[in-house]
């Protein structure tokens, strides 16, 4: 029980790496920086593995330890408390494992970039905060990680800060997240008010004894859950706060893979799954989660259909897949949601890194209309990308098939308009398959649409391709935990998570597994439809064409950015400029400060004439002053003599 007892080591190692690289790395050659960055994350991964091994050796008993008190005020306590249970095990392994692979990849990808040490300092800092987030045993500490990853996201999106679009995208991400975090904090306050604690165990144990809010009734739990979910919509890019994620692609590609696909954006899903006790007691909130997730899934998928930028397609795909995870949580299938979180982190990290490899090969080109016919030139990247695509499209036996299937099955069985949710989910699956194969065809097949004299297509170095291959393997086998369930066997993943978040799937039992099998076949068929349509449309000779009608709306992302600009940003800027700046700041604040100065000057200008330099006039002032002081001092003594006839004389 060596590591488990000192669980703080796992997050501390990346923090150390970040500090060393950030403080000393500027003068070091890249080799040392690489060593520190990979060493700290690799060690952290090893420690996490050892901790998990000890966790299993200890009979999977939930581990929880209070390392030190952080805030104590009255009966409120927020400590540096870490915990490790089944849910955390999945998250920690995903964060450290995928994070480590992406670190390796980044050493190759960023090798020729300026600010190499700065990049890895930020990336390690991100790992630290993300580990705090998933290991925290109370809401307050979770919020530290929550805000920290937001900060790192901001820093890394704006990594190329000399480019205005990157700096703007960073600010956009930070500000949009702030809106969500506002809700999250209110949710925490409400929970503390209701349960007098922010500790997970205390809150959830107390909430479990509460009467669930009836559907449509807004009790404390419903409101608290909706507020927490508001935070989740910001962090996990759901409607209506998803707008920052596509812009976040301004950051370097490893960042997109690590933060904006595999780990940070799944934090919202994690919080919902972690707080499942609260959500289960608030059916209205769950319904909202399901609806928002479902709507986001199809909304983002439709935008992804026509985007020309390879990373933008993947960004909208991420938003869409996160919608799936929330759909799963919303219908009570938390296990399926976490399962999809895990498999998604494998194949989406793979897709992003492959896209990065393509961009690397093309010398920075991101527009798919300027690619084509790359399959034979960068074989490894092509095969890895294909694996990721098949996995996300949901073909058996790849990872995405099992997790997406579990979500659709759970949605189908949901009592609250489950069939509609299932229908939308299935439609999204078709769209997903379509836009992903469109991406593959445009990028790797067809004729070359780039100038071969200027672009020297080359395969990426081993430090980039090896992580790709590992992730490709994980994208293939990552879902096999659930495979036996297809023919009526146990679902190892769901069973593993059951002690923490219950087993919604198990309740329906084996009686419906023929139904599940049917739905699986339907899902694969729908993925096939997407594949065939994409093949018909994009194989052979393709031209960019012009966007008209619906595709124009999709190409412009439903004009949501423009809408937000007109509805929120514009009025805010107008208000700030014309009211807060020109009236409040210039008129009232500057006016009062300058007014005091002017007033003082005017008074001084008048009064200075008493300084005549004439000794006798000073003497007059002294005398007048003396008389006034004497009057003040003696007035109370004289008064009775003047006004009270009977008392007579000085008291």
């Amino acid at each position: 029980m060596l590591i488990l007892e000192h669980l703080w080591i796992v997050p501390l190692l990346p923090l150390l790496g970040s500090a060393i690289n950030g403080l000393l790395g500027a003068k070091w050659p890249n080799k040392f920086v690489t060593g520190v960055a990979l060493g700290s994350t690799g060690l952290s991964f090893a420690c996490a593995l050892e901790a998990v091994r000890e966790f299993f050796a200890g009979g999977q008993a939930p581990f929880r330890k209070e390392f030190f008190d952080w805030i104590i005020a009255g009966n409120f306590r927020a400590g540096f408390d870490l915990q490790l249970d089944q849910l955390t095990v999945v998250m920690v392994l995903v964060v450290t494992g995928v994070g480590f692979l992406i670190h390796i990849y980044a050493t190759g990808y960023m090798a020729h970039e300026g600010g190499y040490y700065r990049f890895f300092s930020y990336l390690n800092l991100f790992m630290f905060f993300m580990l705090i987030l998933v290991l925290a045993a109370n809401f307050a500490l979770l919020f530290v990680g929550w805000e920290g990853v937001g900060l790192c996201s901001y820093l890394l999106i704006g990594f190329y800060f000399l480019r205005k679009s990157a700096a703007d995208a960073g600010k956009k991400a930070f500000i949009v997240n702030r809106i969500g975090d506002f809700g999250f904090m209110l949710g925490m306050f409400l929970l503390f008010r209701a349960f007098h604690s922010l500790d997970f165990k205390t809150v959830f144990d107390a909430a479990a004894t509460w009467q669930p809010d009836a559907m449509g009734r807004f009790g404390t739990l419903t409101i608290a859950c909706l507020l927490l979910f508001m935070g989740a919509t910001g962090k996990s890019a759901q409607l209506p706060l998803y707008v920052w994620l596509p812009d976040a692609m301004e950051g370097p590609t490893p960042v997109s893979a690590l933060i904006h696909a595999a780990t940070m954006v799944t934090a919202g899903v994690y919080v919902v799954a972690r707080s499942h006790v609260l959500f289960t007691h608030a059916p209205t909130a769950m319904y909202v989660v399901a609806i928002v997730g479902c709507a986001t899934a199809i909304f983002a998928a439709t935008i992804g259909l026509v985007q020309p930028d390879i990373k933008k397609v993947l960004a909208y795909s991420t938003v869409s897949q996160l919608g799936y995870m929330f759909l799963a949580c919303g219908v009570g299938a938390y296990g399926a949601g976490i399962f999809h979180l895990m498999t998604h982190s494998f194949f989406k990290a793979l897709l992003f890194l492959s896209a990065g490899s393509v961009i690397h090969a093309m010398g920075g080109e991101q527009d798919m209309w300027h690619m084509g016919g790359l399959a034979s030139k960068i074989k490894v990247t092509f095969w890895c990308m294909l694996f990721g695509t098949i996995a996300i499209a949901g073909f058996a036996p790849f990872a995405g098939f099992f997790s997406k299937d579990a979500i659709l099955f759970a949605a189908y069985q949901s009592e609250n308009s489950g069939k509609a949710l299932y229908g939308v989910g299935l439609l999204t699956a078709i769209l997903t398959s379509f836009y992903m194969f469109r991406l593959v065809w445009l990028t790797f097949f067809g004729e070359k649409r780039y100038d071969e004299h200027h672009v020297h297509v080359h395969e990426s170095p081993g430090s980039m391709t090896v992580p790709l291959m590992i992730l490709a393997l994980l994208s293939l086998v990552g879902g096999w935990f659930a495979a036996p369930a297809l023919w009526g066997g146990p679902n190892y993943f769901a069973d593993f998570l059951a002690p923490v978040i219950g087993n919604a799937e198990a309740a329906t039992g084996g009686a419906t597994h023929s139904l599940e099998l049917t739905l699986s076949i339907v899902a694969v068929l729908s993925a096939g439809i997407g594949l065939i349509v994409a093949w018909r449309m994009y194989s052979g000779k393709v031209t960019r064409g012009t966007y008209t009608g619906l595709s124009k709306i999709l190409y412009n992302k439903y004009y949501v950015d423009e809408l937000y600009q007109a509805m929120i940003v514009g009025p805010l800027v107008w208000l700030s400029r014309n009211i807060f700046w020109k009236v409040v700041d210039v008129g009232m604040i500057d006016g009062s400060v300058n007014g005091i100065a002017h007033g003082t000057e005017a008074v001084g200008d008048t009064v200075r004439h008493t300084q005549s330099g004439n000794v006798r006039s000073y003497a007059v002032w002294v005398i007048i002053g003396a008389i006034v002081i004497l009057a003040i001092v003696f007035w109370p003594l004289w008064r009775p003599a003047f006004f009270v006839a009977s008392s007579g004389g000085v008291r």
């Binding site: 330099g613 000794v615 006798r616 003497a619």
Partner: protein, 100 residues
């Protein structure tokens, strides 16, 4: 025995005369004498109270005042002589270099 009130009234009259002289006269030496007059008016009040209360405190104070007045006379006369030498005048209104 003369009532204490009389001494005090006399003292007040002398002090008032000193003030009036200080404010309305222009000759520096006259002003100087006015100051002496005010100091001695205060001295008179002190000894009157000392007598009335039967305590020596007031008389001690008077001695102090006389010492200070002597010191002040030494310094003041020095200033007056310098002023007279530099300006060839004893008019206090000519001494106004401190004016803004």
């Amino acid at each position: 025995m003369v009532p204490t009130n009389y001494y005090l009234i006399l003292s007040a009259i002398l002090f008032g005369l000193g003030i009036v002289a200080f404010v309305f006269k222009r000759n520096i030496i006259t002003l100087f004498m006015a100051i002496e007059l005010m100091l001695n008016a205060v001295n008179l009040a002190f000894v009157a109270f000392s007598q009335a209360l039967g305590k020596p405190d007031g008389e001690v104070f008077v001695l102090f005042v006389i010492v200070v007045a002597a010191a002040e006379a030494a310094v003041g006369l020095g200033i007056i002589i310098l002023t007279a030498r530099n300006r060839h005048s004893l008019n206090v209104e000519r001494v106004n270099l401190l004016k803004l």
